[in-house]
């Protein structure tokens, strides 16, 4: 399921055409085993992929960096099959999301990794509410949400995905995605004090 074809998202429409064309040319070269072209793709997209992976796993650092590497290795392998039905940036973004979600799923069940009580204990308290809506505090609060709720919140409210896309990616019903989002927002508001 996580390895399925990647559909279009609004990013495909937003991508500037010149940049998209350059990406497409690089993909064609890289698909023919031109590693220098692939390095250019890496240079152009790594920070964005690292950004979404870090948000999904809840932190930047070695874990997110490993997953970025993993995503680019997968991209290299999948390049010959890329059919240009979506923008390269969209495809890479989806690949990054898939890689992070696979990692989150494999970690489910480990102590502290998917336990709501543990996650709640580590959330910031309302003492920080005065500054909570400053980006970094909000980022920290998101990072400490339970993994599944965090994934839904990040994909929907940060990355702009639709519930249908999230549900397909996470293997859940659309209603469950909506419920997880509601829960995640509630937890977030509660923990940042509901005030700004």
């Amino acid at each position: 399921m996580l390895l399925q074809a990647m559909p279009l998202t609004p990013d495909a429409i937003d991508a500037p055409s010149a940049e998209a064309s350059e990406d497409a040319a690089l993909v064609r070269r890289a698909a023919a085993a031109d590693i220098a072209a692939f390095e250019q793709l890496y240079r152009r997209h790594h920070a964005r992929m690292h950004g979404v992976i870090a948000r999904l796993v809840g932190q930047a650092g070695a874990r997110a960096e490993d997953l970025v590497q993993e995503a680019f290795v997968r991209a290299w392998q999948a390049l010959p099959a890329f059919r240009f039905e979506s923008a390269v940036s969209t495809w890479l973004h989806r690949l990054a999301v898939n890689t992070a979600l696979m990692e989150l799923r494999s970690r489910r069940g480990r102590p502290g990794m998917d336990d709501d009580a543990d996650a709640l204990d580590s959330l910031p308290t309302a003492d920080t509410a005065g500054n909570a809506m400053l980006g970094r505090d909000l980022e920290r609060a998101v990072a400490t949400l339970p993994p599944r709720a965090r994934a839904v919140l990040v994909l929907h409210d940060v990355e702009g995905w639709k519930h249908e896309e999230i549900a397909a990616e996470l293997g859940m019903a659309v209603g469950s995605s909506k419920a997880q989002l509601h829960r995640a927002r509630h937890l977030l508001r509660e923990r940042i004090g509901g005030w700004a």
């Binding site: 390095e39 392998q77 010959p80 099959a81 980006g135 977030l188």
Partner: protein, 167 residues
């Protein structure tokens, strides 16, 4: 002085959207990526209908057709793709095989006990996940990350089976 106002739903969502930003990794990841893809079986440029799954399937069937365990390219510190050479199964692959044998043996003992019906979807999801990881490992036989994922998935699956003994 420190007056606070309730944050509205729209405001929260706006603030969340503001988190969407690029984040530069602490180090240059390219050298490691280049080393990893240099050690992969060489990919053909043929067209496939289902991008990711079929690329894996084709890579696997190509290796099988040639009668090779795996094809490796030379490390590409500076160079593009090099001709493939035959190689024995990687250490990671052997570990994965050994892990799978041990896992299956343990599961045969534990699965003799009935599992509550409402656990079945979770068990099936774990089995599916393990199969996906094994498939990905066939394409990336040196991926320690995948090996760790496989180990975690097997562990979780066995824990569920063990818990069923007392359910």
């Amino acid at each position: 002085m420190n007056e606070r106002t309730p944050i509205g739903e729209a405001e929260l969502r706006l603030a969340l959207r503001g988190l969407r930003r690029d984040i530069e990794p602490a180090r240059d990841l390219w050298p490691d990526i280049a080393a990893r893809i240099g050690a992969l079986p060489r990919q053909g440029a043929s067209r496939r209908r289902h991008p990711w799954l079929l690329s894996l399937a084709t890579a696997a069937s190509l290796a099988a057709a040639l009668g090779l365990a795996w094809q490796l390219r030379a490390p590409p510190a500076t160079a593009p793709a090099m001709p493939a050479v035959a190689s024995a199964p990687s250490l990671v692959e052997r570990e994965a095989d050994s892990l799978t044998v041990q896992y299956q043996a343990a599961l045969r003992e534990l699965d003799a006990h009935p599992v509550p019906a409402n656990w079945q979807p979770g068990i099936e999801a774990l089995d599916r996940s393990a199969a996906e990881i094994r498939e990905a490992l066939r394409a990336q036989p040196d991926s320690r990350l995948l090996l760790e994922r496989l180990r975690a998935t097997y562990t979780r699956r066995l824990a569920l089976a063990r818990r069923a003994l007392y359910a």
